[in-house]
Each structure stands twice: as structure tokens, then as C-alpha cells.
Symmetry: C2
Subunit: 498 residues, 2 copies
């Protein structure tokens, strides 16, 4: 029998969880279904839910219960620890700071849209300075409440269980490796010759059916998922009702296809979370880096592998018809695993993507720690990108104005992308070692062995483990960039099966 | 400047309103979009929102504020009166009674589905007895809190501002009139000859486009509305984001078409509610009878008129092609205004529908007042229908088991259907008198003159007036069944333009 104070806390958490689920559906609806004229009312609805959740989380009796509660067993202990942490973080921030932050983020984001369109950094500078000032204040308050360093306290908003001190050497090692690897990859790529474009046409209705059937083939259940359309693809909804979205282009079938495979990875994670702890903190995902590892292990590790492409090519040709040659797996690999030094993070390939993230990690950490002023950001960006990839952005729109994150108050998120990519490689290696026939199955378009392993070794842990502990449990070691480098070397350097 | 206690109450009402809107979108989603597997979690989400709303409504400080608040102006006074009434009703019911009612309704509704399928009244009888027992207890509690008679207190859950004592003579007069009118209408109908069925085919895609374009033509804005599909058509969403649904049959284009016109009437009412009082009690609709008057004035009064059919017939023929003769307005009138004595309320025509409602009104009032036991319901039903329409149901599935209402705890709702139908005729007469060219516009498929009049004389009042007062304001008199009878006489008895 659980402790009465613990029981009261779980009942409160269940209501908080239900409010969060309601908000998730309303967010999904706003991006997929809502007519434009419903926007203002939707804002009121979501603000009301957020306000009620905050009141519920910070009610005076919660502190008493958190003090008194005793947990029996590991999962209860993890759940209680997560409740205590969330409460400490929620009560650490004065209401005035929370409100000022919401206002400043919203104002800056609005200005940023125009500044990016005009590539005019000066336009957004004052607003961004205010955003940063409030983020630094937030980081200090969270740091005081948690004992983490200020930047780590912000990172914890997105991913628990990993610090900048752990990330830094991993990223430095990758930078050093990339310095040699990138020119070699480019040379090998040039030697392999150019890809032939797919002939088309690619009717959207066919793309839609293919994407849905692939996401079901990968393991989503029709009774527990949807696939819809939105301008910016995402995975939303709730664990028993996951909703992924994509955007179809009649000229390019790869964007929606690979995007849906990516979002399906996120969705499988949500579906695999421990149902016995639904709407409890410990029943949630382990964080954004862990989440990204699940989308990338499906999209990058499994579905862009030679094995899976050998299944997918003929499927695509059956669907779209025309000349079969461009659908040969080797050509699909050339098309969808092309390395290129570019300015834009979201367009980057697997090899250079981490360079974009390393740049942002260093800059945002320096900003939060007071070592870099907003005024110096464009210069530091250009210098950093030149040092990492040997290219210089022609303007700020293709430089420090390209991402929404900072302009909307999102400091500490960027590392998640690359931590996730690295974790995906590390998990894939462990899954392969534990699961004979995993690649043979991929070649049949069958991800069941991989997804089955992920269910047990990642999904089922919920949030009971932080990022590093989750990797330790699943792979026997904390984050190790060598597995990611080995994966990239096999795929981009040796020409060996990848 | 508003009184501080009144201001606090409006702030609370705004949050309650936002919670209600969130729930409305989640309900819509459950009927249109949600994969089946999301049902259990959706139940948790909605129960949590309902619980929070109840807590917010009945918090101790609300009673103090309601006591202290002073309203300035008519709208504030109406808003405050509605808040006081809602609070009195919410606090009148002990939590144990509310919970027992929810359980009993849910249990009975489940048994009813099987009992209806098997036409086995005995099967549902004990559960329905429990539902009635709790409804009578609820009616007593609400009666004590409001001073209304017990049945009137239940009716007020759906429609404020009309009592059974006012309804009774109106329904009695209709019954007497129908006794003469129905045989005459049948005789005239037989003389006019049978309708020719529409030739088809009716591809669902074409039906969908037609329904959407008609709902926009009637006055809904694309930016503030949706049209989707669900098993049971309804109008949901929120005033700036109204969402109507329908169900398409490839064999019969009339069902979806007339259904969408009906739901568009509901949606136009929601769109026309006073935006300045959004999410306040006085900014809501005047109730279910008022709502039904708005769906029926669009569907029955306007869109089944000779004038509108003369516009619609050629439109339908252009869309579906084939022999033009069945699309002649006179044939559409024969098809869609056919009088028939039947057992099933939802299939009934305009003339006999009130007989079904009068039967239910008398029976449910007798049950609430303790004059009719559940055991005697099937017999009383058969006897009542025989007396009203001269037919006897062959079994209980086509008798007292046909409707969900009572089996789900819905006592006091039925009168709304016929009060709405009568109000629609009364409002149409007033709109015609005030708006020259209203029928000429209908013949062009233009409802703007009618909808414009409704916006000012019905929609804009929100809930500031109860049912009878709304009619007085719009038509100069309380509910008068003569206007409805005159409408029916013109359409079904005289052969004059209708």
C-alpha cells in the first residue's frame, strides 16, 4: 500500500497529466484542423489550462505532501523524485519573471520573423537582448533551486541527466574527427558519382497512402495513431492516441517520406511508454535527447540503411512507376545520404549536422554564462561556422537568424539534436549485438526486431532514468561518440555496408 | 467601472468558459478524429476538465462574491443573474447524488443499447427505474434551490424561461388542431401524387463539396467553421470556430444535405452570439429550444420553402446530372415534405413530429411527478401514440425504447424540439413582415436578409433573455402556436406557396 501523501500526489499528477493531454490535443488541432479564426480563442483555452496546471502544481498542500511522502519501490521513488524536481523548478520562478519571459519571448519571436525575412539582425537585437536577460535570470533562479550550473539548469528543461561538462568533450572529440572525416567523405562521394533524380510524378494521394502504410508497418497501430498534414511536421497527441504530421510536396516524395519515418520513431516511443504510469511524471519520456534518439534510430539508422533501402526502392517503384533505375538502393543512398557543407541546420546531412549544433551549444552557453553579448553574436557565429565547416554565411538570415529557438526563449535545447543522433548510433549498435537477424529483417522492411528491442531497453523505462543512465542501462556505457563516428565511417568513409 | 466582486466573477467565468470551449473541441475530436484507442484517455481528460470546472464554480469565495457583487447596466445584471442561478443549481446537488447519477445514467445507457436491439423493455427496466429515482431526487433538490416546480427545474437544465404550465396549453392546442389537419394533409398529398426519386449517382465527394459550399452560402465563414463527418451529425466547437458534422450516404443525397442546412442554422446562431461577452454566461445561447428554432428556421422554414427549392433544384441537377424532371421544385417538395404517420420520432415529418414530442413531454412529466411508474411506461406509450396519431407501435424498440434520452438521464429535454419548431415559424413570420424581399432572396439562394434579421433579433441577445422573453422581443408576443399552424396549413393543407 502506497504512503497516503504519495497517493495524494499521484492523484494530483494524474489530473495534471490529463490537463497536459488535453493541451496536447488542442495544440495538435491548432496546427492541423482549426480554422484561422479560432486562433484567439484557442490562445485563451491553452492559457487557462496552463494557468490551472501551474496553480495545481504550486498549491501550498503540495509542498507538505512532497515533504511527507515516502515511496515504496524504485518506480515510486523515481516518480516522487521527479515530482519534487518539477515542484522545485516551478516554485523557483517568481510569477513576475514567468510573465515577463512569456511577453518578451512572444514579442521577440514576432520581430524575428520580419528580421529574418529582411536579414536584419539590428532589428531584433534589442528584443533578443531582453530575452537573454530574462533567460539568464531564469537560469540563476533554477540553478539556486536545483544546485545545477545555470546553463545546465536550462538544459534540464528539455533533457534531464546530462550536463554541459559531459557534453563538451563529446562535442570537441566530434569536431576533431570531423576535421579529417568531412574532406574524405566529400572525396569518396565525388568518386561515387552523382545521383539520378527520381522521375515522378508523385501524386500527393499516393504519397499519403505510402506514408501511412509505412508508419503502420513500422509498428504504429491504426487504432492508436493518426497521420495528418501541417506546415511544420511534428509528433503530438498522447501515448494512446499519437498524432504525427507531415507536409507533402508533389515534386519531392522524399521530404514527406523521410519525415514520416522520423516522426514515427517519436510516436513509437510515446506508444511504448509504461502504461501503468500513464499521466505520472515517471511515465513520460526521458527527455528531448532521448526522444530524438528514437526518431533518428528509425529514420537515420534503420530506414536510410542499405538493407532497408533495398526493400524500399522496389516498393517506391511499384507505387510511382517509370524508369526503375533511379529506385535502385545505391541511387537512393546517393540521393538521401548526400553530404554537403551548408549554412542551414535543418537542411544539413547526418555528418555535418552536429557541427551546426556544436556551434549553437557553444554560443548559447557563452551567452547564458555572460561571456558573449548579443551584439557580438553575428561575428561569433560566422567565425564559429568557418572554424567548424570552413564556410562563412553570406548574411544573418543564413546565419544567426535562421532558427526560431533563441528568439522564442529556447536556450539549452540545441544539444538534444546531436545527443540524440549519437545515442541513436550507440543504441543501434547495442540492438544489433543483441538481436541476430536485425539487418536481415530490415531488408524485408521489417522493423519488429529493432522496435521490440527499443520497447524493452528504452521505451519501457519511461522517465525513470535520465539520459546518461538510460544509455548505461541499454548499452552498458554512458554517451560514447565513437559509436556514432563508427556508423558515419561505415556509411560515408569506407563504402562498407551502412 | 464594474464592481470589484463582479469583475472577479467575470474573470472566473472567463476561465470556466475557456474550460468549456476546450471540452467542446475535445468532444468534437472524439466524434470526428480520435482513433478508437484514445477513448479511455479522452474520458480522463474530459472528467478532469469537468471536475475542475465544478471546483471553480463552487469554490467558497464565489458565494461571497455573488452576494456582494453589484451590476451596472442591463447586460451585467443579466450576466450576474445567470451566474447566481448556475451557482445555486451547482451547489444544490450533493456530490454523492451527482456521482450516483453519472454512474446510473452510464450503466442504464449501456444496457439500453442491448435492450433496444432486442426490443426487450424488461431488460432495461431496473436500470431505468434507478435513473428515474435519481432524476426525481435531482428535480426536488433543484426545485428547492430555484423555487421552480420539479419538472420545470429539470427543463431549465436545457431551456430557461419557459414552464410546463406554459407548454401544456400550447401542446394541447396543437393536438386538437392536428386531429383535423393530419387526415386532410394526407388526402391532399394523395391527390398531388407520388414523388419521383432522384436518379443519382451521388458521389460522396460531390455531396461534400455541395454541403460545404451551401453552408458558406448561408453565411458561415470559411475562417471560422469546419464541416466534417461523424456517425451522429451535430454542431460543436466554439463561437469563433464552429464545427458541424454530417454523414454521407451514396444512395441518398438528401440526408446529408438537409442535415447540413439544419446544423448550419445552429452554427450561425453560435457565430452570431455577442462577441463582447464571449466566455460569459450572458454571451451564450438562450438555450436548446432557442437553438432548435435557429436550426429549424434555416432548414424547415427557409430551405424547404418553394422559393429556396426553386433555387436548389437546378443546382442539384447541374451537380448530379441525369433526367432534370425529378429536380423540379414541386417534385423536391413532394420528396422532402412528405407527411407520414410513423413510429420513429427522428424520421418524422414537420407535421407529425410534435405529436412524438407531446407524447414524451406528457410521459416524462408524469414520471417526474410520480404519476407514472416505469413498469407502466410501455402501455402508456402505446396508448398515447394511438391517441395522438392513431397508430400502435409493434414493439418497444419502435416504442419507448427508441430514444436514448431517458436512458441517459435526459428528462426535460424533449419539449425543446417542438418549442423550437414553433418558435421558428413565429420568427419567420416576423422576419418576413420586417424584411421585404426575403422570399425573393430565398429564390436566389440568398439567405442574407433572413440571417441578417436573425443576427439582430435573436443571436445578438445571447442569453440575456429567456425563451419567452426572446420571442416577445423578436416577435412582440410569447410563444404562439398559431404561427406554426399557419405555416403548416400553407405548406400541407391549402396548396398555397409555402
Amino acid at each position: 500500500m502506497s504512503h497516503p501523501a504519495y497517493l495524494r500526489l499521484t492523484q494530483r499528477a494524474a489530473r495534471l497529466g490529463a490537463l497536459g493531454e488535453a493541451a496536447a490535443i488542442l495544440h495538435w488541432d491548432a496546427s492541423t484542423m482549426m480554422p484561422r479564426g479560432g486562433g484567439a480563442a484557442r490562445g485563451e483555452q491553452l492559457a487557462t489550462l496552463a494557468g490551472l496546471a501551474h496553480d495545481m502544481m504550486t498549491a501550498p498542500e503540495v509542498a507538505d505532501d512532497l515533504q511527507a511522502a515516502e515511496a515504496s519501490g524504485e518506480w515510486e521513488a523515481a516518480n516522487l523524485a521527479l515530482m519534487r524536481r518539477a515542484h522545485a523548478r516551478a516554485t523557483a520562478l517568481p510569477t513576475a519573471l514567468v510573465e515577463a519571459t512569456a511577453r518578451a519571448n512572444s514579442a521577440c519571436e514576432k520581430i524575428w520573423r520580419e528580421a529574418k525575412a529582411k536579414s536584419d539582425f539590428a532589428m531584433v537585437r534589442p528584443a533578443l537582448e531582453e530575452v537573454l536577460r530574462l533567460q539568464r535570470e531564469t537560469a540563476q533562479a533554477l540553478s539556486a533551486a536545483t544546485g545545477l550550473a545555470p546553463y545546465d539548469a536550462l538544459m534540464e528543461s528539455y533533457q534531464r541527466g546530462v550536463t554541459a561538462a559531459e557534453v563538451e568533450p563529446v562535442f570537441n572529440a566530434y569536431e576533431a574527427w570531423l576535421r579529417e572525416a568531412l574532406p574524405r567523405a566529400e572525396e569518396i562521394q565525388a568518386r561515387r558519382g552523382a545521383a539520378v533524380p527520381l522521375p515522378g510524378p508523385f501524386p500527393v494521394e499516393k504519397q499519403r497512402e505510402l506514408c501511412r502504410s509505412l508508419s503502420l508497418r513500422l509498428g504504429l497501430e491504426a487504432d492508436h495513431s493518426r497521420l495528418d498534414e501541417s506546415v511544420h511536421p511534428f509528433c503530438g497527441g498522447t501515448p494512446t492516441d499519437v498524432r504525427i504530421t507531415t507536409f507533402y510536396s508533389a515534386n519531392d516524395p522524399a521530404k514527406a517520406l523521410l519525415g514520416v519515418l522520423h516522426e514515427t520513431g517519436h510516436a513509437l516511443y510515446e506508444r511504448g511508454l509504461p502504461a501503468g504510469f500513464a499521466r505520472q511524471p515517471v511515465g513520460e519520456s526521458a527527455g528531448m535527447a532521448a526522444h530524438e534518439s528514437q526518431s533518428l534510430i528509425i529514420e537515420m539508422q534503420a530506414c536510410r540503411s542499405d538493407a532497408f533501402l533495398s526493400f524500399l526502392g522496389p516498393e517506391l517503384h511499384r507505387l510511382y512507376g517509370g524508369d526503375p533505375a533511379p529506385y535502385a538502393p545505391a541511387n537512393l543512398a546517393r540521393l538521401w545520404r548526400r553530404v554537403s557543407r551548408g549554412f542551414i541546420r535543418v537542411d544539413a546531412d547526418e555528418l555535418t549536422y552536429p557541427a551546426h549544433v556544436i556551434l549553437r551549444f557553444r554560443l548559447e552557453r557563452a551567452m547564458i554564462e555572460g561571456r558573449l553579448a548579443i551584439a557580438d553574436l553575428p561575428g561569433a557565429w560566422a567565425e564559429g561556422l568557418r572554424s567548424l565547416l570552413g564556410i562563412t554565411p553570406p548574411d544573418d538570415a543564413r546565419g544567426c537568424l535562421q532558427d526560431i529557438h533563441w528568439h522564442d526563449g529556447g536556450f539549452g535545447y540545441f544539444p538534444s539534436y546531436t545527443l540524440g543522433a549519437m545515442a541513436a548510433a550507440q543504441l543501434m549498435k547495442a540492438a544489433r549485438a543483441a538481436t541476430p537477424g536485425l539487418d536481415a529483417a530490415l531488408a524485408e522492411g521489417d522493423l519488429a526486431p529493432l522496435v521490440g528491442w527499443l520497447r524493452v531497453n528504452v521505451h519501457a523505462h519511461g522517465a525513470s532514468l535520465g539520459f546518461q543512465d538510460l544509455l548505461r542501462a541499454a548499452t552498458g556505457k554512458p554517451l560514447d561518440p565513437m559509436d556514432f563516428q563508427a556508423h558515419l565511417a561505415a556509411r560515408y568513409l569506407d563504402g562498407a555496408p551502412a
